[in-house]
């Protein structure tokens, strides 16, 4: 296959879709890889690295995509780039399939599109699961920026200048990002509690040494390991429990998501106002509306001495490793496709089929809620 990698154009995006190491592996497997100059710069992968691994470096985007069969991307490339692609070219990246915007654009240009969001959550596909890998970064980073914004220490310290009590960290939504946040906060010495609507998560939270906030008879496990929306009575019970618990917290990290739906609203403005002065909320669901009523995506909000951070694209702030992991996911996917006979062949495969949102200009099922 002929694979193209462009410099990402999104604001603040420092990641790159394929890192030199993956490029090398693909080249050795017989593929050709064309990389736009400076594509890896932001993530700390200079052009020389790509060249050394056998990539062809191209000066412009159009040069890069010429004759490409596959375009490896992170976000959906700009329309002009898509326009320059030969019909039938496969484009892979995070395409927010729920919105349908990507599908529309890709079909317009007769392309084939694979959304990384749609990798099935099976043990087998885990090595292609970029949502997981980027969520890992996000969970880790959320604790760091939260700790940085907090006017307190996370760990307990007994010193000659008095004893510092450990910070209480509350993680809402203990999926991939949430669990990583729990682990990171625990590493830093915080006392961590967590809540999730899927009951299996309790054991996982405890396996990281944190406490699970139990709300009786709340269970909303959907298909594929994702959560569902809560029934009204469950929602009420959750609200009451969270409101009572959140009062004593110093740092709250929210990660709750329901695929294809806006993020569930879990922290109301009243809850925020009940919190202690100086506490901090990091809302990782900011992009899809936020788990906190007051969250503003990409902004820092202060409400009565409580700081609410709504970072967007947080994985991009750890560009080196985020790229490395994404690249490995993509590489595994490409190798898998090649083994299955290439993009032109059947979409019967449970993984490839599930990810394909547009086939040669024709939109397909793809949506998890479809």
């Amino acid at each position: 296959m002929r694979i193209a990698v462009l410099r990402e154009t999104g604001a603040g995006e420092r990641r790159v879709a394929l890192v030199p190491d993956s490029v090398g592996r693909l080249v050795r497997a017989g593929h050709q890889v064309q990389v736009e100059q400076g594509a890896g710069q932001g993530a700390g992968f200079p052009d020389e690295g790509y060249a050394a691994q056998g990539a062809a470096l191209c000066t412009t985007a159009t040069d890069t995509t010429a004759h490409a069969e596959v375009l490896a991307a992170l976000a959906l490339p700009p329309a002009e780039t898509l326009a320059s692609l030969a019909p039938g070219t496969a484009v892979i990246g995070f395409f927010d399939p729920a919105s349908g915007r990507a599908a529309a654009l890709l079909s317009q240009y007769g392309l084939t599109g694979f959304a990384m969001e749609l990798v099935p959550r099976t043990t087998k596909a885990q090595s292609m699961d970029a949502l997981s890998s980027q969520a890992t970064v996000a969970g880790y980073k959320a604790v760091l920026i939260g700790a940085d914004a907090l006017p307190r220490f996370l760990p307990m310290l007994t010193t000659a200048a008095g004893t510092i009590t450990p910070a209480r960290v509350f993680v809402i939504g203990a999926g991939v990002a949430g669990l990583q946040a729990i682990a990171t906060a625990r590493r830093l010495g915080a006392v961590v509690s967590a809540f999730d609507v899927r009951p299996v998560v309790k054991e996982q939270v405890e396996s990281l040494g944190a406490v699970f906030l139990e709300v009786p008879s709340v269970a909303a496990e959907g298909q594929g390991g994702y959560a569902q929306e809560l029934a009204a009575d469950q929602q009420r019970r959750v609200e009451a429990a969270v409101a009572a618990h959140i009062k004593g917290m110093d740092l709250v990290i929210t990660t709750a998501q329901i695929p294809g739906k806006p993020a569930p609203r879990i922290i109301s403005a009243a809850m925020v106002r009940s919190m202690r002065a100086g506490s901090v909320i990091v809302d990782l669901a900011a992009e899809s509306g936020g788990n906190c009523e007051l969250t503003q995506a990409g902004e820092v909000v202060s409400e009565r001495d409580v700081t609410i951070l709504g970072p967007v694209d947080i994985a991009a702030t750890l560009p080196c490793h985020a790229s490395q992991m994404y690249s490995r996911n993509l590489q595994t996917f490409l190798e898998y496709v090649a083994k299955a006979g290439g993009f032109k062949s059947t979409l019967d495969d449970p993984i490839i089929g599930a990810m394909c949102i547009v086939k040669d200009g024709v939109a397909r099922n793809g949506r998890p809620d479809a």
Binding site: K124, Q204, S207
Partner: protein
């Protein structure tokens, strides 16, 4: 040979047995202990052969040669897996010998018309009873293990009562003979026959899995029978050795029961409560898993040159990371090497095992990626799988129908032996059976990983 010298030599033989048995109970000295005990036996037999009361050697030599040859042949021919039944058989023969000696002494006095003194008389009856029970009981145990008859417990209504009646009858007949030394021969034969029957009936209701305990108990009986014979022929070495074997056999039976977490009474009479007996875990397809005791697992680990630890989600659930580290330290202190094999998706979040092991301060350079370690499993003496399941499931390699087919896994099954620590036969995240657990090289140590590791740690300290 003067009588005093004879006695002293017998005492030396007994001392050899004492020291030999002591040494047999520790791995480091067991081989020597057994040989010392054999030397003692040789001494005892040679001394006996030089006894002044022996008039003819023909029969003796014939018996010695035939018996030794047969014994040696049996010992050579038997397969390692058939050892327990072989012990049972040999033990039965020992019991038989005591029975015969007791009987011969009785018949001799009968023939000579000499009344037996009361003590000889009592001990002859005991030799007969215990020797006969040992003989047939051991033979039944042998048959069960050799699968000549079904290994399942054979119970019928009133069996316990029947056994009690039998025993009472034997004792009554025996007592009658003691009191009436001039009596007829039929009570003697009755005691023999009823005792032989009792041996059969006592072992029948015990399941095949419990046979080792039964054999150990019968072994203790054969010791007591020998001691009784010693009383009959007024020979101290028989009394000492017999009593030694008698009591150590009972203690050993108890130790064995304890290792199985059961009581001796439960083993002997357990079948009467639950008709089922012990059941070994068997999968749907009839494959069976092999369990291992913590003590045995500890010995394996202690003598291993390379141990690869495969941690999984269960280790995190058990929060036993510190114990793993401690176990590894202990293995390393003994000169073994320990590596950790970290599967990319072990646990429930990326890097789960790293967090866990970092908490326990496991040095990073002992953590190995799947690609780095997979080729090393072949030279590992033990792969110690702790609360991992899917990441070592060979179905990913072999079974195209499996939902995890195609996922790279850790080659734990390539290790010379595999020890798996988990709570039961529960499945992992993928919810599928794992044939690794049914692999003949795999041994399961069931229980919460924290509890199992605690025991392993304390056991390994005791391995000498």
């Amino acid at each position: 040979m003067p009588h005093a010298l004879e006695e002293i030599l017998y005492l030396i033989a007994a001392v050899c047995f004492i020291i030999g048995i002591k040494r047999l109970s520790s791995p480091a000295t067991a081989v020597g202990g057994n040989r010392l005990s054999a030397v003692g036996m040789l001494v005892a037999i040679v001394v006996t052969l030089l006894d002044r009361s022996i008039v003819g050697y023909g029969v003796i030599v014939a018996g010695l040669v035939v018996g030794s040859a047969l014994g040696l042949w049996l010992a050579r021919a038997v397969k390692m897996t058939a050892m327990p039944q072989m012990v049972a058989l040999l033990n039965g023969l020992g019991g038989g010998a005591s029975l015969i000696v007791g009987g011969a002494e009785f018949l001799k006095s009968e023939l000579l018309g000499a009344a037996l003194p009361i003590d000889t008389s009592i001990t002859i009856q005991l030799s007969l009873l215990i020797g006969a029970v040992t003989l047939t009981g051991s033979l039944v145990a042998y048959a069960k293990l050799q699968e000549l008859i079904s290994g399942r417990p054979i119970v019928f209504f009133g069996l316990t009562a029947l056994n009690a009646v039998l025993l009472a009858a034997i004792l009554a007949l025996g007592a009658w003979q003691v009191v009436h030394p001039e009596s007829l021969l039929w009570p003697f034969y009755a005691v023999c026959v009823l005792s032989l029957l009792l041996g059969v009936l006592v072992v029948m209701p015990i399941g095949g899995a419990d046979m080792p305990v039964v054999i150990s108990l019968l072994n203790s009986y054969s010791g007591i029978a020998a001691a009784m014979t010693g009383f009959v022929i007024h020979n101290d070495v028989l009394i000492i050795s017999g009593a030694l074997v008698g009591s150590s056999g009972i203690i050993l039976s108890q130790i064995m029961c304890k290792a199985m977490n059961r009581s001796l009474a439960n083993v002997l009479f357990g079948a009467f409560g639950s008709a089922g007996g012990t059941v070994t875990a068997r999968s749907a397809e009839g494959m069976s898993v092999r369990q291992v005791s913590a003590e045995d697992a500890a010995i394996q680990l202690a003598y291993a040159k390379l141990v690869i630890i495969v941690p999984g989600y269960g280790l995190a659930v058990a929060q036993a990371q510190h114990l793993v580290r401690e176990l590894a330290d202990l293995i390393e202190n003994r000169g073994g090497e320990v590596k950790y094999a970290i599967h990319p998706v072990a646990g429930r979040m990326p890097g789960h095992m790293n967090v866990l092991l970092a908490e326990a301060n496991v040095p990073y350079d002992k953590l190995y990626d799947m690609e780095q370690i997979n080729s090393e499993f072949e030279r590992a003496d033990v792969a110690l799988v702790i609360g991992a399941n899917d990441v070592v499931n060979p179905a990913a390699r072999n079974d195209p129908g499996s939902p995890i087919f195609g996922m790279p896994i850790l080659n734990a099954d390539h290790a010379r032996s595999v020890i798996v620590l988990k709570r039961g036969m529960g499945s992992g995240f993928a919810g599928i059976e794992n044939e690794l657990f049914y692999n003949p090289r795999t041994a399961m140590l069931f229980g919460d990983a924290k509890a199992s590791l605690t025991t392993l740690v304390s056991e390994i300290k005791h391995v000498s």
